[in-house]
């Protein structure tokens, strides 16, 4: 087991290679470019293909093609580039092909800036492109977790034949942390019955997203929807941090969750019963985490801490379903929530009514 110091962006690349991904198509954009830069060097070392496409539209369609041919394939970009990819992602979801897409979020809307934000939450969790579909969305919050989760991302993509989006902000992509790397093992990919690599005496394999007869498209929509229902039941992931006796539970993912862990530690030192739910899957949203906490009856409030003007709070409110009040604190535009400011919000909720 070797310890190395890695940037988040590099960890996505190294993690993908360790998960058996041998095809990467992408296009540079700050603050994600180190991922492409890293794989440009690293892919040839393992006999893989790195290709810088002429645009994000081209990259996602190359991903579509490679996935159709049975490859473990990945692309990455940041907000504006991910917006350009939406048409292709919708096609891949309709065609039921597996791939992993990494979005290292930057300030928006529009060209915005290159600073860290979490404001692509809606785009990520609601499908993003046209039509009735979902992406599985994973949100790591440390460089080590990037390495660990990306393996799972590829496995989930192939298990459900659906694109998986990994969502991080610029800070997660840029910061360096020590990670433990296991020996690189040859990954034997499971059978790929969807791949257009020859019918081998079986049924015809056709990849198509034009389903022109309404009765048939409705059937296909229903099939996809049943798949999403299965994912919602089976694949919720989250981390509880000191929630058991918490009166106020913070909800935050990614970088905001790192800040919030510090907030919880600080509050606990001051004998304030504060905890944190950190969603790891943003879709499916970890509703079970809320149901469990609400069954304990100690929790009085939820406080959503986001690097946006308030997007995940909608999912929290759906999960809490009116059983408790849900409050919001956010910084945006590339500004970060900091410990003292979040603590102030916490104290406002927990202490003011006692005064």
């Amino acid at each position: 087991m070797a310890k190395v110091l890695m940037k988040g962006n590099e960890a996505f690349g190294e993690g993908a290679i360790r998960a058996g991904c041998r095809f990467y198509f992408g296009y540079p954009i700050t603050p994600q470019s180190e991922l492409a830069h890293f794989l440009a060097k690293r892919m040839p070392e393992v006999g893989g293909t790195f290709l810088q496409a002429e645009s994000e539209l081209a990259s996602i369609n190359m991903v579509y093609g490679a996935a159709g041919a049975g490859a473990r394939v990945m692309t990455s970009s940041s907000g504006p580039g991910i917006s350009l990819m939406q048409e292709g992602i919708s096609f891949i979801a309709c065609a039921e092909l597996p791939c992993v897409i990494v979005n290292i979020m930057r300030g928006g809307p529009g060209l915005g800036n290159i600073a860290p934000v979490q404001s692509d939450y809606f785009q990520a969790t609601r499908g993003g492109g046209h039509g009735d579909y979902r992406l599985i969305v994973l949100a790591p919050s440390s460089v080590q977790e990037i390495i660990d989760l990306i393996r799972e991302a590829f496995d989930l993509a192939e298990k459900y034949l659906n694109p998986v989006l990994m969502l991080g902000d610029g800070l997660l992509g840029q910061m360096m942390e020590p990670v433990e790397l296991n020996e690189v093992k040859e990954v034997s990919l499971p059978p790929r019955p969807w791949a257009t690599s020859g019918r081998m005496g079986g049924p015809k394999r056709i990849i198509n997203t034009l389903i022109i007869v309404p009765e048939e498209l409705e059937k296909h929509n229903l099939k996809l929807n049943q798949k999403y229902k299965r994912i919602e039941v089976k694949e919720q992931r989250w981390e509880n941090y000191q929630t058991e006796d918490a009166q106020l539970v913070l909800v935050a993912f990614g970088t905001a969750a790192r800040v919030c862990k510090g907030v919880v530690d600080y509050c606990r030192e001051q004998r304030l019963a504060v905890g944190l739910i950190r969603p790891i899957t943003l879709w499916p949203f970890p509703v079970k985490a809320f149901d469990y906490l609400l069954s304990l009856a100690t929790v009085r409030y939820f406080l959503s801490v986001e690097m946006s003007t308030g997007q995940m709070i909608e999912d929290i409110r759906l999960a809490v379903n009116g059983r408790r009040p849900v409050y919001f604190y956010g910084r945006f535009g590339g500004m970060l929530p900091v410990l003292t400011d979040v603590v102030k919000e916490v104290k406002k909720l927990l202490l003011e009514e006692e005064c």
């Binding site: 310890k3 590099e10 440390s142 942390e177 800040v259």
Partner: protein
């Protein structure tokens, strides 16, 4: 340590050039040398010298970096003041260059001026980083950087670390690799850089004559500080991340 008026730090992405340049500039100022630090990083979007400009200026270092809006951009914009640092024979200049051969390309622009001066071009090595884990790959990268900078490396900086998880064993293991590179290329190891809180342990175990540069860590993620503008605050000594 400071016989050359211009000191340039190059190295692979994430090797620690910025921290080294900042700390080296502060070291020179503390010795009483008038010092300017030049942010030549045209490839990194975050964690750049310009983010701690106010701290450095407060401590007496002149800072040359893109100003105003441009400081927040990832554009290769180079302020004209760089020229003054190259031509002023009184001042000591410390150059923080962007990572890899791509970042080093910028030096080609200043080659003519550098060759007229006495300069030190130091290659910073963190053996715990990808692509610089062993002698052969480090030497390969040195050649890449020399080629795109169109200049020869004149010394190595031994900067092996694992961020907050650095321990003395990690530092010495990396330093041994750096020494083999130095021997192979016949280059001096200019200094060994060590986080300030590890200095005592390292100096007690060290049995060679080498300059130790103590490091204050400036480029930290915001959860290290409980303040609104973390990147402008003078950092405390490194402590464990709270998870």
């Amino acid at each position: 340590m400071h016989e050359k008026k211009l000191t340039i730090f190059v190295g692979n992405l994430g090797s620690g050039k910025t921290e080294i340049a900042l700390n080296f500039a502060l070291f020179l100022v503390k010795q009483g040398y008038p010092t300017t630090i030049v942010d030549l990083d045209i490839i990194n979007p975050y964690f750049r010298t310009r983010m701690v400009r106010h701290v450095l200026e407060h401590m007496g270092v002149r800072v040359v970096c893109p100003r105003g809006e441009l400081a927040n951009a990832d554009l290769p914009s180079l302020p004209p003041a760089i020229q003054s640092v190259l031509e002023d024979t009184f001042n000591y200049g410390v150059f923080d260059v962007g990572g890899d051969e791509i970042g080093a390309t910028i030096l080609g622009r200043y080659k003519a001026f550098l060759l007229k001066n006495s300069y030190a071009l130091y290659y910073v090595i963190n053996q715990c980083r990808p692509f610089t884990g062993d002698k052969a790959s480090i030497i390969k990268n040195i050649h890449f950087i020399e080629k795109s900078a169109r200049l020869k490396i004149t010394g190595l900086v031994s900067n092996t670390n694992l961020g907050w998880a650095t321990d003395v064993q990690t530092i010495f293991k990396g330093h041994e690799v750096v020494k083999t590179v130095a021997a192979e290329l016949d280059l001096p190891v200019a200094f060994l850089s060590v986080r300030r809180d590890l200095m005592l342990q390292v100096s007690m175990r060290l049995n060679e004559d080498i300059f130790l540069l103590p490091l204050e860590i400036f480029m930290q993620p915001p959860w290290y500080y409980g303040i609104t503008d973390p990147l402008l605050k003078i950092p405390q000594t490194a402590k464990e991340i709270p998870d």
